[in-house]
Point group: C2
Chain length 143, copies 2
DNA sequence: TCTAAATTTAGAATAGTTCTAAATCTGGAA
DNA sequence: TTCCAGATTTAGAACTATTCTAAATTTAGA
């Protein structure tokens, strides 16, 4: 069961993006709306460079600084999550806002979301450990 | 300058380090032995900079390039593991060579080894996923 | 329309790491 | 021993991802 939070893959209209930004307290500039069209919709775990590459094709002119600024603002506003994985230096951005894990296909480099219902973890730690968050990365290949 | 007074759990003698390096096919130079005294023994998840800082106190003169070279060689030789975690840019090096997980104390920044028997994971993935490795980072605080 | 504040931008700065190429060591061969 | 080819060490340059700086521009709204 999903669709409780917004599901990615369905593109939001510029108007929907605009109102989302506004209600998150982010001024909806043309650059920000353009970047959101990509990172809140079709992109799956893009890096800043990939966002820049997409923007270069879809927006008259946008600077790398604005890409970084906007991604940071979206993360701060809670509209995007930032992940850093061991296999690359670059941050990746995720429009899946629910708590989830990741599978790295070592053959292709592709990152795939693993929803929490696809695995269960049983902790047997001493009670002195207070766990607030758990990040799991599975690595392997997919046939 | 030496600091022989601390007796961490299993400190190897310079001779033991030397034979370990030799049997791993690594030429045991003075710099490498010095670095090993730290990273194979008392250090817990040090960064390259921390290794450099220790070396500056315990070896006449050592360059940062040699620290990085040596850490890389030790990792390649299988005597050390390198981890990259989301909360810092710097790699950390680990002399615990068994497969294990980590707990990050968000209050102190301390990384603590979590042995596999301290948690169990049940995967319910489609059989197309071939998992080769699993990296788990727990975040929280310890009382 | 006007203006203060927000945003965008190019380029400089930064941090961690790797690379380069010259100096220095080292294990054997002679 | 002496010698030397190859390994190692080193200082500093280069590199990459990201952040910072400060000037130009856009924007909201009075
Ligand atoms: Mn960031
Ligand atoms: Mn780096
Ligand atoms: Zn994800
Ligand atoms: Zn560890």
């Amino acid at each position: 069961m999903k669709a409780k939070n917004q599901t990615p893959n369905h593109c939001l209209s510029p108007n929907e993006i605009e109102s989302r930004l506004k209600s998150a307290g982010v001024q909806p500039t043309a650059q920000r709306i353009a970047i959101c069209r990509f990172v809140l919709c079709e992109a799956k775990h893009p890096t800043a460079e990939q966002v820049k590459a997409w923007a270069d094709l879809n927006f008259p002119k946008i600077s790398l600084a604005t890409v970084y600024n906007t991604l940071g603002i979206l993360v701060q506003a809670g509209l995007l999550k930032e992940y850093r994985f061991p296999h690359t230096e670059s941050s990746v951005y995720d429009n899946n806002l629910t708590s989830h894990h990741h599978f790295l296909d070592e053959a292709t480099g592709e990152l795939i979301d693993i929803e929490p219902d696809q695995l269960s973890v049983n902790l047997k730690l001493k009670p002195s450990f207070k766990i607030k968050e758990m990040e799991i990365l599975l690595k392997g290949t997919r046939s």
